[in-house]
């Protein structure tokens, strides 16, 4: 992540975009084979999540089937201890994971960008104060904090999980963005914008942010990835919202319902496997994003 050429990215993206009709950044991502696989995988997950009612044979909470059965024609991955269809839960669970990834990833990125940019651009006292909070966010052990927040919060639900993940996850991104803006703010074109009479807000939004897009995207991907994992982890520990179907709660229930002892491997393995696949797709896409921020990786 050192010395990313964030200024060059937009330029090459614009150049690449001119050749074909697609947006330039997409062309670069699509060309990378690993990234292409990741994009296809992610697209499949999104499609399944959006079309969940069509794909899933039953509702995720319908518990009218025989409990704890193995895979069969009617129930591809068997049923839970409460008599729910595992495959349907798996399909609906994709929604939770993606929503958490998207929303928590976005929130984290927004906070990180706002704090990082303000601290890095203004410097002085503002920077001292904000950096203090960034450092605080970095040194506090995340997992215990998550567990405490999730465990003792008066309300339960997906919203709470997203907030917990955001609160614990923004600091690292903010630190990186602060570092990047400190190098960008000394560029001559920033001085030129000041002499052109532009306001600070405008300089940040129009002169600096466009040169950091790749870093922001990388940050978003990282946060979304972390959020998906964190949600599954919290849910597995039983701190999730029992009313939501997610892969984490499925794992949690599978372990509570004694899936291993009853030999229902599918119930246990399936949620873990799709989770791993989703995370893999993000990682593969990140290879393409590397190419986006480093022109040398692009000629393969």
């Amino acid at each position: 992540m050192t010395s990313i050429d964030t200024e060059g990215v937009r330029v090459t993206a614009l150049a690449a975009g001119r050749v074909s009709r697609l947006p330039g950044w997409f062309v670069i991502l699509w060309r990378n084979r690993k990234c292409r696989i990741g994009l296809v995988m992610l697209a499949a997950f999104v499609a399944v999540a959006v079309l969940a009612p069509v794909v899933a044979p039953y509702g995720p909470r319908v518990d009218e089937f025989a409990a704890s059965t193995g895979p069969s024609g009617a129930h591809w991955l068997g049923t839970t201890a409460r008599g729910e269809d595992v495959f349907s839960q798996l399909v609906y669970g994709a929604r939770t994971s993606l929503v958490v990834g998207l929303v928590a990833g976005l929130l984290t990125t927004v906070i990180a960008v706002a704090v990082g940019l303000t601290a890095g651009y203004l410097q002085g006292v503002v920077d001292e104060v904000l950096s203090f909070f960034i450092n605080l966010g970095l040194v506090i052990p995340v997992l215990p904090l998550m567990i405490v927040l999730a465990g003792y919060a008066p309300v339960k639900g997906l919203g709470l999980i997203i907030i917990v993940i955001t609160v614990t996850g923004w600091a690292f991104g903010a630190r990186i963005k602060r570092a990047q803006i400190i190098t960008l703010r000394t560029r001559d074109y920033i001085t030129a914008a000041k002499f052109a009479g532009d306001s600070t807000a405008r300089i940040i939004a129009f002169e600096i942010v466009p040169n950091m897009i790749s870093l922001i995207v990388v940050g978003f991907m990282g946060s979304a990835l972390g959020a998906i994992g964190a949600e599954a982890g919290l849910a597995f520990l039983g701190l999730g919202d029992p009313q939501t179907t997610s892969w984490g709660t499925m794992l949690n229930q599978a372990s509570l319902g004694g899936a291993l002892t009853t030999g229902q491997w599918a119930w246990l393995v399936a949620p873990g496997l799709v989770l791993a696949l989703l995370i893999t797709s993000f990682t593969l896409i990140n290879f393409g994003i590397d190419a986006l921020s480093n022109p040398h990786l692009r000629e393969d």
Partner: protein, 620 residues
């Protein structure tokens, strides 16, 4: 057999997103044992690509697509990577422009040398057996490049740019190579430091007897140092002559154009020329002579017949006219006569009439206090400086790096306030401006930056960059701003403006970018322009063009300009008055010709001595 034999070498860039470019096109040349060869050309002519190809360090998307490179009889083009490793650095080493950044920041200089010796156990240093004293050998090498042995214990960040570049040079010589490839080794350094390193290099080369391939766009330096000079244009070698011949009896019109950029600033009348236009786009097939569109003496056949590199005089030339003429020099004499007036920029000896000053700096002193450890350090950056800037006149501010030039610029533009003394812009006290007043003041004071590559936001179009000052300072709406932006582009010679308005900076050449930067500075109709080394990053061949543009704008619009520079030649061309700054104190000041002609201060003399004078070495 020559040490380095390059035959019909072609290098092609084939990026995925754009058409293939043949950056080096069937180039052949030799470098003999112990010979100092200069390779000249504008940026983008393929000289660095050629150098990288010789080292076989080309990276995708570039690749050697034809020809061969033989080093000491070995074909480097086909040698496997593993065998190359024993060749590199031992027989063939290099110093790049950015070599100073190639030192590993986490290890000491001594350690860098140790690494080099360790990587090549069979090479020179270890010939006497295992007992090589690294410290002693590295110390010797540092002394060669005029550095103290104590540098061995230092880390790269503790050294200045010039010192780092010397270390890089010492490292390149560590294993006593037979050929050293130098790619703009001093560009970006202070002129005096640059001079010093190059003088040392020439001395070492004569003493140690290695061959040098010296790549540079700075023709003055190359001609002074080299035995033989090759001029490259658009991927081809267009002329190859002994250096002494090149100065006085060059034959190719392009060489003549390059040489025209030099003059002695002490002359009564100083005249420099520039070559209009840009090198051709090599992704298009080329017909005829590649220099034809910019050539002042081109004839019809030049457009259709591609000339070959043929023997002429003492070397080789690629020009149809030279080929056909019985007296090749006549061609150039004709060229000199044909060169139109806008290609020549001259400064006479006359002084201009004084006008009422627009800005007055009086007894200004700036002290910086830094606290490092327990004792605070006090640095006086500017000490008791007074001067006045007048409309329609250019005042040059000359001084070494760290002499306080930039601090003066910062004080002038209100970025910083003086510790004592006053700065007045007409009736405004610049040293007491509040935030809002400062913004208003900046309408009248604008900057022209040194580096055209960082002065424009890479993600914003030319129209956007120009529209901001127009909308903020002059209150124009979007449509008015666009119209005015187009007018401004025409003013700075980018026409037709429509072609440039929606371009991004990377689509423009360095000179074009600098024109946009100048246009942006002119946009709010300022009365005061501060230009901080506006031409030092540009190719020598287009510097005069930008100087001419600045001169015209200042005179026509009655702008007062502070021109900060190292370069006495451009100061001579542009400025009415010169001030020399040394350690924050103004040591010399007066009309340009007087200061430069009868320099009294030792620093001014050093600067004068650092100006390359092609042919000087041969004459003395």
């Amino acid at each position: 057999m020559a040490l380095l034999e390059v035959r019909d070498l072609s290098v092609t860039y084939s990026p995925r997103d754009s058409a293939a470019v043949r950056a080096v096109d069937r180039v052949s040349f030799d470098v003999h044992e112990g010979e100092f060869v200069g390779l000249l050309g504008e940026s983008g002519c393929g000289k660095s690509t050629l150098g990288t190809a010789v080292l076989r360090l080309l990276d995708r998307p570039a690749a050697i697509t034809g020809g061969s490179i033989r080093f000491d009889g070995r074909n480097v083009t086909t040698t496997p990577e593993d065998e190359l490793r024993s060749l590199r650095w031992v027989d063939l080493s290099t110093v790049f422009q950015s070599s100073m950044n190639s030192l590993n920041p986490v290890i000491t200089v001594r350690h860098q040398f140790a690494d080099t010796f360790e990587a090549h156990p069979d090479a020179f240093g270890n010939k006497q057996g295992k007992g090589l004293d690294i410290g002693a050998r590295a110390g010797e090498l540092l002394e060669l490049v005029a550095l103290d042995r104590s540098v061995l214990r230092r880390y790269p960040h503790e050294l200045s740019g010039g010192m780092k570049q010397r270390v890089a040079l010492a490292l390149a010589l560590a294993l006593e190579p037979r050929l050293v490839l130098l790619d703009e080794p001093t560009t970006g350094l202070d002129v005096v430091v640059q001079r010093d390193i190059l003088d040392r290099l020439r001395e070492l080369q004569a003493r140690l007897g290695f061959a040098v391939l010296f790549i540079s766009h700075d023709l003055g330096t190359v001609m002074e140092l080299a035995d033989r000079v090759m001029v490259m244009y658009a991927g081809e070698i267009v002329e190859d002559q002994p250096a002494a011949e090149m100065v006085t009896r060059h034959l190719h019109p392009y060489s003549a154009g390059l040489l025209g950029s030099y003059a002695d600033p002490r002359d009564e009348v100083v005249k420099v020329e520039f070559i209009p236009g840009r090198p051709p786009d090599l992704s298009q097939p080329q017909q005829g002579c590649r220099f034809e569109p910019r050539c002042p003496v081109a004839v019809d056949t030049c457009r259709t017949v591609h000339p070959e590199l043929l023997p002429a005089h003492l070397g080789e030339v690629r020009c149809l006219l030279v080929e056909q003429a019985t007296d090749p020099r006549a061609v150039l004499d004709k060229a000199a006569a044909l060169r139109s007036r806008d290609q020549v920029f001259a400064a006479g000896a006359e002084a201009r009439i004084a006008a009422e000053p627009v800005l007055v700096m009086d007894g200004v002193r700036k002290v910086y206090k830094t606290r490092r450890g327990l004792s605070p350090t006090v640095t006086t950056a500017v000490d008791g400086v007074s001067f006045a800037l007048r409309p329609g006149q250019v005042t040059a501010l000359v001084g070494q790096s760290g002499s306080g030039k930039t601090t003066i610029a910062r004080l002038l533009t209100g970025v910083e306030r003086p510790t004592s003394g006053t700065i007045r812009f007409k009736d405004t006290a610049v040293d007491q401006l509040g935030r809002r007043a400062l913004r208003k003041y900046r309408r009248h004071v604008q900057l022209v930056f040194q580096d055209p590559f960082s002065a424009l936001n890479p993600t914003r179009t030319v129209a956007y960059a120009l529209s901001r000052p127009l909308r903020n300072h002059l209150g124009m709406n979007a449509a008015q701003a666009r119209t005015r932006a187009a007018e401004l582009l025409e003013t700075v010679g980018l026409s037709p403006a429509e072609q440039y308005l929606d371009k991004l900076p990377h689509q423009l050449s360095g000179g074009q970018r600098q024109r946009v930067v100048i246009a942006r500075a002119l946009a709010p109709e300022p009365e005061l322009l501060v230009a901080d080394e506006p031409i030092s990053m540009l190719d020598v061949s287009i510097r005069a063009e930008i100087v001419a543009l600045l001169d015209k704008l200042v005179r026509d619009r009655g702008i007062a300009m502070l021109y900060i520079t190292h370069d006495l030649l451009s100061a001579r061309l542009l400025a009415d008055e010169v001030m020399v700054l040394n350690h924050g104190v103004m040591v010399e000041r007066g009309p340009t010709l007087e200061v430069i002609g009868q320099a009294k201060d030792p620093y001014t003399r050093t600067l004068l001595a650092a100006i390359p004078r092609p042919g000087a070495r041969q004459l003395t």
